[in-house]
Structures are given as C-alpha cells and as structure tokens.
C-alpha cells in the first residue's frame, strides 16, 4: 500500500465511511488525481479487505462496512473519474436466476468486484434468461455472473447459458451459490465457479486478462 494514503486506507478498512469520504475529498482538494486516490489508495485497501475475508480474518459485517466506505469515497470521485474518462478494470453483469429470490451471495460478489475496481451492473433476483440476454446486449459486459442458492434453481443456469449462446452471445459466464461446484459449472458450459466472493474476484481477473 502507498504510505501517503495510509490514513485513508485505515479508515476504509475499518469501515468508517464518514472519515473515508472526508479524506477522499481532502485529497481531491489538495490536488491528488482521482486516479491516484482510487488506484493507490482505495483499491489496495479493498484488496486488503478481500484478502482478509478470504482468509477468514474478517467476516460479512466488516466487508459490508468497508464496502459502504468505498461507496462513500466513490461518490466523491465518480464525477471526476467520468470527466477524466477513467476506464474501470472491466464490466460485470450479475443476477440471480429465475425462481430464486436470494441475493446475499450475489450482492457480496458485487461488493467485492466493485472494491477491486470493476464496474458492476446488478440486474436483481428472479431473472429469466431473456433478462440476462437483454442485459448483455445493453451493457456489453466482459463477464456475466449467475447466482442461485437452491438446487431447484441452479439448473436454470444452463437455460440462461443456452439462451445466450443461441442468441449468438459468447460472453464468459460464471456461476455461484451454495450448491454449485466446479463439475456442475463445467457441465453447463460456464467459464468457472468460485466458493467465495473473494475467489469470484480472482476468477474475473483471470477471465479479463487486461484487468
């Protein structure tokens, strides 16, 4: 991590969203570029959170408050990054498949991906295959993520992938959820699966080589 951003990073990792936003604004005011604040300050801090989560050093509440702090900082930076035509590491569309209303896992993956510098479009829960097709057409993501908690709904992931392929879309699809494993992912033609949200970030990194 970069020493000049130590305090900002401590605030973010500790989940202090008020302090994180204040310090981000302070860096902007003092002339730091938004890219530097993001890439040298905020993203490395979120990587620390992600690593600690993966290693079982922190848990969901700590990740959620850190993500909220990240969001508060991004509220300051986003207009500046947009003005500077800043490119994210890549775009990921996420959704829970039809028949399934559970979103905790999907949301957590979204949190971790945003924290790692990806743009995330969350299309919600109970999504039919056509909704995923429409979202891919509209947002042109680098990766599409499908979530399912239930053994009854995980089978619908194959329907989504088949519908995408028959629509001529070759976007890599990753799948996740409690009952999903690598064998199942391979069987339905997914590009991969991950047991944890941190693993999902690594998987997306592998699927977007330039990220």
């Amino acid at each position: 991590m970069t020493p000049e951003f130590d305090e900002l990073q401590t605030a973010l990792i500790g989940g202090n969203h008020v302090r994180t936003a204040e310090m981000t604004q302070s860096f902007v005011t003092s002339g730091a570029t938004p890219q530097d604040i993001l890439e040298k300050g905020l993203l490395p801090a979120m990587q620390v959170v992600g690593r600690r989560f993966r290693d079982g050093e922190v848990f969901l509440p700590e990740v959620l408050v850190a993500a909220r702090a990240m969001k508060s900082a991004m509220a300051v930076l986003e207009p500046l990054l947009a003005a500077a035509k800043y490119q994210s590491k890549g775009k990921v569309v996420l959704g829970t498949v039809k028949g399934d209303v559970h979103d905790i896992g999907k949301n957590l993956v979204g949190v971790m991906l945003r924290g790692a510098g990806f743009e995330v479009v969350d299309i919600g829960t109970g999504c039919a295959a056509e909704k995923f097709v429409d979202a891919v057409r509209k947002h042109q993501p680098h990766v599409l993520g499908l979530s399912a908690l239930l053994t009854t709904t995980m089978t619908y992931m194959k329907t989504v992938i088949d519908t995408l392929r028959s629509s001529g879309m070759d976007v890599p699809v990753i799948v996740g959820g409690a009952p999903v494993n690598a064998e199942f992912a391979q069987q339905i033609g997914a590009a991969g699966t991950a047991r944890t949200a941190g693993d999902a970030v690594e998987l997306v990194h592998r699927l977007i080589p330039q990220a």
């Binding site: 848990f59 700590e62 559970h102 979103d103």
Partner: protein
C-alpha cells in the same frame, strides 16, 4: 430418538431428516398453496412423509396456521410453474411446485428505524426466508402440533421449530443493514436481539405446553459464512441461550440448527446450553468433520445431521451415498448421541429412493424396537 438425545444407548441409530418444502410438495402431489396454508393438509402431509420414509420423528417447521385462511383469498389462479393467490389486501403469493412461496406485497415496506422500542413484545410471524413471512394466528398458534401428534400417534417424536433472535433481527432491518449495525451500533443491536429473544422465548414456552419431544432453534445466519466467532459470542450466544433456557426449563430438549460453516464455533454453540446440534454440513458446503465434532462436543450434545444433502443425496452415486451414510452411522455408534439426518434439508428433487436407501441402511444395521414419544413417554424428564 430420546435415548440418542439424552446420552443413552438406542437400539439402533435414529433416523429423521428435515425436508425442504419443495421436496414435500414433490412427494405429496398436493396443491402447494393448500400445503403451505391449510393446517389439515400440512399436518396430513408431514405424517404421510414420516411414514413413507420411516423417520423416527417429524419436524413441524410451521405453526400458527389460520383454519379460515381461504376467507382471505380474493383470487386463485394458475401460473407458470405453480399457482398464485391474490389476497384481499392486494398482495400476491406465488406457490411453486418445488419451492417456498414467493410473496409480493402491495408496496415495498419502508426501512425500519434502528430502535429496540419498536419491536413488539409478542411476535406473530415466522421469518421463513427473504421477503417471506408466515403469519401466526394468535388463537391457533400451536394447534398444528396437537394435530400432528393426533395423526402420528405416540410412536413418533414430534419436534417443533422456532426461529432464532438473530434471524428476526436481520429480517427486521434487512440482512445487509442488520449486519452493519453489529459494527455501527453494537449496543443497540444487542438490545434489539434481547427483545427478539424474549419474544421467541414466549413462543417456545407456548410450544412446550404441547405434546412435543424437542424444539429446534433455526439459526441459518450464525455460521462462519456470515459472522466471526467474536460476533457469535456477542450477538448469537447470549440470545440463543435465553431461548434454550426457556425451552429446557420445561424438560424439553432444544437443539440448534445452523447451516454452512460451523466447524470453528462448535465450542461456542455448546455454551448455549442446548442439548443438541443439527446440520453440521461437511465440506464443501460446510466445514464440519463429524469425528472432530464428536470430540469437541465431548458427548455433551447430541448430533443430528452431517449427510450432505446436495453432493451425497442429489449428486453422488448409490455406492458413494451408501459409503457416506455407513461411515456416519459407524461414527455415531462409536461416540453415541447421534441421529442420522441430512445436514440441511432434503433438496426438492432428491429421489425418494435415496431416502428409502438411507432407511434400509439403518435397518440393516439394527432393527428398531418400539419407543413411546410425547407425554406418554416415561423418561422424558430424565433427559
């Protein structure tokens, strides 16, 4: 079952799984809305499935059915994959043929204030799943337990179920917001949990007046997939202990059901004082090695579960399944206080033959002698 729960030596390994609503619907061929809402259909279905599978007990996972529920229906109509009901208040519930209902309220509820004083003293709902509540009719709160006992007789253990204070807390505030409040305002979170614990204890106390053999405390968000050990100790343990004490002071055993990864916190779960633990999901779904769990618990709690409902029951070959089940029965016999069961619920599309195979493995191991359950049992209060 009672002997396994209390530390005695049963004539054979007791066998009792909890079933997902989807699995029950798949097996029973009844209208999903009727099964969910109608106390007669629900009780009859539970007993039919207990007999189909030869379970030694029945988990009654819902309570408080309104016998006049049909009066609340404005419209009932078929929909893709099931049927829907539009209620008199305008809300709609979709009842799939293989899953829990999905409820759509007339309007999305406003986020609640983080204020313990807003939590009602009497809890009249079960927070079944995200966005799905089961309303508890105050005049019929525990009728279902009586109905199931009447149908099942005294050869079968009847287990009731309450939901943990932490579930109510997360449902009240929303999951993500609730989890953040643990860090933002731990004192208020604890006060809210205390109020929910008092409310759940009242429900549990009411159940204990019925002819039941145990109460399961459902607590799916207390594992390592969500909380640290220290948060477990601060926000789960004291409040589940309150509920456990309310149950066990009546002589009825309580057990904790926490799915997912709990291998790192078995010692803390033991400190709730509960008589038993359910689930103990093995890897990859959870983190519990059964033999290690027996060693940590040291014979102080009964264990119900550990058969992977997805990778063993749904996906594995018959030979692999037999090996998994036999290994657990052998460990159960070695350490005692074991009830053979799926870790979490039997998934909807698990073929019934798989469950029947589990039963035949148990019976081949040792045939069962007759046991009396409920208020007719002579040794309940010795447990």
């Amino acid at each position: 079952m009672q002997l396994a729960m209390s530390g005695g030596r049963p004539d054979r390994t007791p066998f009792m799984c909890q079933m997902s609503i989807g699995h029950m619907l798949q097996q029973l061929n009844v209208a999903a809305a009727d099964f969910w809402c109608d106390p007669r259909v629900f009780a009859d279905g539970l007993v039919r499935l207990q007999r189909q599978y030869g379970f030694d007990g029945i988990l009654v996972s819902l309570h408080g059915h309104d016998p006049e529920w049909r009066q609340n229906i404005r419209e009932r109509f078929p929909t893709d994959g099931g049927e829907s009901i539009r209620w008199n208040d305008g809300s709609v519930t979709f009842f799939p043929l293989d899953d829990l209902p999905h409820h759509t309220p007339v309007s999305e509820p406003e986020p609640r204030e983080i204020d313990p004083s807003l939590i009602p003293k009497e809890i009249d709902y079960i927070p079944v799943s995200q966005g799905l509540h089961f309303h508890v009719h105050p005049k019929h709160a525990f009728d279902i337990l009586h109905r199931v006992r009447s149908l099942a007789g005294s050869d079968v253990a009847i287990h009731a179920e309450v939901t943990s204070p932490f579930d109510y807390f997360l449902d009240w505030l929303g999951h993500e917001r609730g989890l953040m409040v643990l860090i933002d305002d731990p004192l208020t979170a604890s006060l809210m949990l205390k109020k929910f614990a008092a409310g759940v204890a009242v429900i549990a106390d009411g159940m204990c007046r019925e002819d039941i053999d145990a109460i399961k405390i459902s607590s799916p968000f207390a594992g390592a997939g969500f909380l640290s050990r220290s948060h477990y100790e601060e926000f789960i343990l004291p409040h589940e202990r309150t509920v456990v004490e309310a149950i066990q002071r009546t002589g009825i055993p309580a057990y904790l059901h926490t799915c997912g990864a709990i291998g790192d916190r078995l010692d803390l779960m033991k400190r709730t004082g509960a008589r038993g633990l359910e689930c103990l999901d093995p890897p990859p779904i959870g983190s519990t090695d059964l033999e290690e769990a027996f060693r940590i618990l040291g014979g102080s709690m009964f264990v119900k579960g550990n058969v992977d409902p997805v990778n063993t029951l749904l996906l594995a070959s018959d030979a692999q399944m037999r090996e998994d089940v036999c290994r657990r029965i052998a460990l159960g016999k070695k350490y005692g206080r074991f009830i053979l069961s799926t870790a979490c619920s039997i998934a909807p599309h698990v073929p019934k033959e798989k469950i029947l195979m589990m039963r035949s493995i148990v019976e081949q191991d040792q045939p069962r002698k007759r046991t009396i359950f409920g208020k007719k049992a002579v040794h309940r209060h010795d447990t």
